[in-house]
């Protein structure tokens, strides 16, 4: 065995580079710098203002397109990194939850969202626990009424504990937004 590639390796290398190229992964240095310089310094108390939110805002400003705004916003994990929210000192990942069906009796106020990339999309900076679901696994946050013209009612926050299958009881079976883990 040596480093000289055979035909299969050469073809594999070509295909891998193509695989990466078509993924269109670049964002440029400016958003990266914007992100690192806008992160809170532990002792400064600066407000979280991550790069993802900055880019969305920039996209709206430059494009002036509500469609672009909604498209990017509707998928907090898309393109620019995973959105996060901190509740009671615990970091959660934010996801849109369109097929979530929750009654008010299932929700209990859990805690204030102290920082998030998407706080401007939350109806209020408060997360709720769901009956039967470990709050360290998942919480929900009502979306602002005008988000996606009301089509998106909740964001779900995934925490460090395992959310599935306990959270599945709140997703409509067979609906487009039903997580794969619940199918």
């Amino acid at each position: 065995m040596n480093d000289a590639p055979d035909g299969f390796e050469e073809e594999l290398g070509h295909r891998l580079r193509h695989y990466v190229a078509v993924a269109d992964l670049g964002v440029g240095a400016a958003p990266v710098l914007e992100h690192v310089t806008s992160q809170p310094v532990e002792r400064s108390g600066r407000r979280v203002r991550p790069w993802a939110a900055a880019i969305v805002v920039a996209a709206v400003a430059v494009g002036g397109s509500l469609a672009m705004y909604v498209s990017m916003f509707s998928d907090p994990g898309s393109g620019l990194g995973i959105a996060h929210a901190t509740v009671s000192g615990v970091r959660y990942d934010v996801a849109a939850a369109r097929s979530l069906q929750v009654a008010s009796s299932d929700m209990t106020r859990y805690g204030e969202i102290t920082s998030s990339d998407y706080d401007w999309a939350f109806a209020e900076p408060v997360a709720y626990s769901l009956r039967g679901v470990d709050p360290m696994a998942a919480l929900i946050v009502p979306a602002k009424p005008d988000v996606e013209e009301g089509a998106l009612e909740y964001f779900i926050l995934f925490g460090p504990a395992e959310a599935f299958p306990s959270v599945c009881q709140y997703f409509q079976a067979g609906a487009p937004g039903e997580p794969d883990e619940c199918k």
Partner: protein, 162 residues
């Protein structure tokens, strides 16, 4: 420390991003197979560099440090992947718009372990040789070639029937 960006060296940081970000996110994409996770792993790496620059004796090793940290971040994201992949994402919906060879390769890669995908990324996308990969993984060049041989064997098997 020369070559490592600090808050006072914003220009140096930007230069490092412009120089290495592409390699980092490409490697992370090979490892995760997911644009968002790849971008997130890369961004976390930049944040680490910004906040706590490594004390490198050789500034020329910055690229290696960045790639190693980014790959590690990518593997960590995979471990918690079910939580970080957005619920609305329909992985299959984008497949028909991509060439079948790209889809097939992506599927074949998913059959490998993350560390095996990392090895392929370092070798065939970043273009490191066995010695450089060995330094990354803290193994000998011979061990790198052996691992690559095994991974290639797996891929040959999977891609043979295309």
């Amino acid at each position: 420390m020369a070559g490592v960006p600090t808050r006072e060296k914003e220009d140096g940081f930007v230069a490092a991003v412009e120089r290495y970000d592409g390699d980092m996110v490409a490697l992370c994409f090979v490892i995760t197979g997911n644009r968002d996770l790849a971008r997130d792993a890369t961004q976390t790496t930049w944040l680490k560099l910004w906040r706590e620059p490594p004390k490198l004796r050789d500034p020329g090793k910055l690229r290696s440090w960045l790639l190693a940290v980014a790959a590690n971040e990518a593997r960590q994201l995979i471990r918690k992947g079910r939580r970080v992949v957005p619920l609305e994402r329909d992985q299959a919906s984008s497949a028909p718009t991509e060439p079948s060879t790209v889809v097939a390769l992506g599927q074949a890669l998913q059959g490998l372990r993350p560390d095996e995908r990392s090895l392929l990324g370092l070798k065939y996308v970043i273009g490191l040789n066995s010695t450089e990969i060995g330094e990354q993984l803290n193994i000998t060049p011979g061990a790198v070639r052996l691992r690559l041989h095994r991974v290639l064997g797996k891929l040959r098997e999977v891609l043979r029937d295309e």
